[in-house]
Symmetry: C2
Subunit: 216 residues, 2 copies
């Protein structure tokens, strides 16, 4: 595939994502996507075997981009402090800043869109999404495990539960954001989760080094 070829492929994908996020996958025809790119059927079926492969490519692209974003916030947090709790709080504020800076009218998660359209996709795609969710969740979980190793929670809680909670808050936040047409509600919800963490982890275990910096 030449440079121009893969550029066209990317053009199709980046035109398809917002359309599907707004109209659903079944509600978005191939012609809709092509109209948005100025291309035609020939180009589409040269780069994709069919609509199903487009679905697969889209979800993989989304997973890749999201993972990179996660790693960026993670690196930023690790550069800022050594304390695992402070790192996690820093991570969340970085995420909140990102959401607030987004000027897109409505955000959304491709995984969630697919999850609610269900059966019409290849089971392999659903497996990939579930795996992506778990992988994403595992990144959070790792953070919370580090926190739990240094702090005694005020209530019994597992790293897994905390990871699932922030994931649900973000996914549910997108739904509310879309329905309310409120672009920054996800950031406000993340702030609630941060408060939960702050209330949960107030006492350190063993020899203290440096507590977490108070976040705004």
């Amino acid at each position: 595939m030449s440079a121009k070829g893969s550029e066209t492929r990317e053009r199709i994908l980046s035109a398809a994502e917002p359309l599907i996020l707004r109209q659903g996958f079944a509600g978005t025809s191939i012609d809709d996507i092509l109209k948005a790119t100025g291309l035609t059927k020939g180009a589409f079926f040269h780069h994709f075997n069919g609509k199903g492969e487009l679905a697969r490519a889209l979800v993989e692209r989304y997973a890749r981009n999201d993972y990179e974003l996660f790693e960026r916030f993670s690196a930023e947090a690790e550069a800022a402090t050594e304390d695992p709790l402070a790192q996690t709080l820093h991570f969340l504020t970085a995420f909140e800043d990102f959401i607030e800076r987004l000027r897109e009218p409505v955000a959304g998660c491709v995984f969630a869109a697919y999850t609610y359209e269900g059966l019409q996709f290849d089971p392999a795609i659903h497996a990939f999404i579930a795996q992506s969710f778990r992988r994403w969740s595992a990144l959070y979980e790792k953070r919370f495990e580090a926190v739990l190793a240094s702090y005694r929670p005020a209530r019994p809680v597992t790293a897994r539960e905390l990871a699932d909670t922030i994931m649900a808050i973000v996914e549910g936040g997108f739904i509310l954001s879309r329905s309310y047409n409120d672009p920054i509600i996800v950031a406000r919800l993340s702030r609630q989760f941060r408060q939960y963490l702050e209330l949960l982890f107030v006492s350190r275990i063993g020899r203290a080094r440096s507590g977490p910096g108070r976040s705004s």
Copy 2:
């Protein structure tokens, strides 16, 4: 409309809801729904002007049922205790029990499904959904306002923020539930929110009467 007529209408609706929750609205054809009921086109278009009206009827039905459920849990909570915080915690545990007792393989929220299919619906439907979300949220909000009137939160928080948070947790929980095929994850997430409330509201304002009963 006769008794049999409205029964048929209801049969169509209750057959359509799970299908749409599994395949999406655009991904579910009228024939799919009719095949599930044993009826034919004639019956469908006798009771609905078109697919759009089915969408409207479905979302209204869902809103009605959800509201009733909410009121049921609410009455149960108010019968159990007078303390606003204890009532709210009781409400949440009742909701958790409900989720855990559900034996449906996949749960889901019609509002969320519509929200991710977006543009293909009448704007009036989206307005109705947003209004339903807000009305639902207002019920939570009223509870939290009562709590805030009796308890001083450990961190600054508004009733609105708490209402949005539990709504997001439930909506996001459904997405995770579907993707993971885990029917009770929503209950576990609700429990996290309960813990947040317990940590947030530890000190009463003014003369104490009776603290909230510790929930399991």
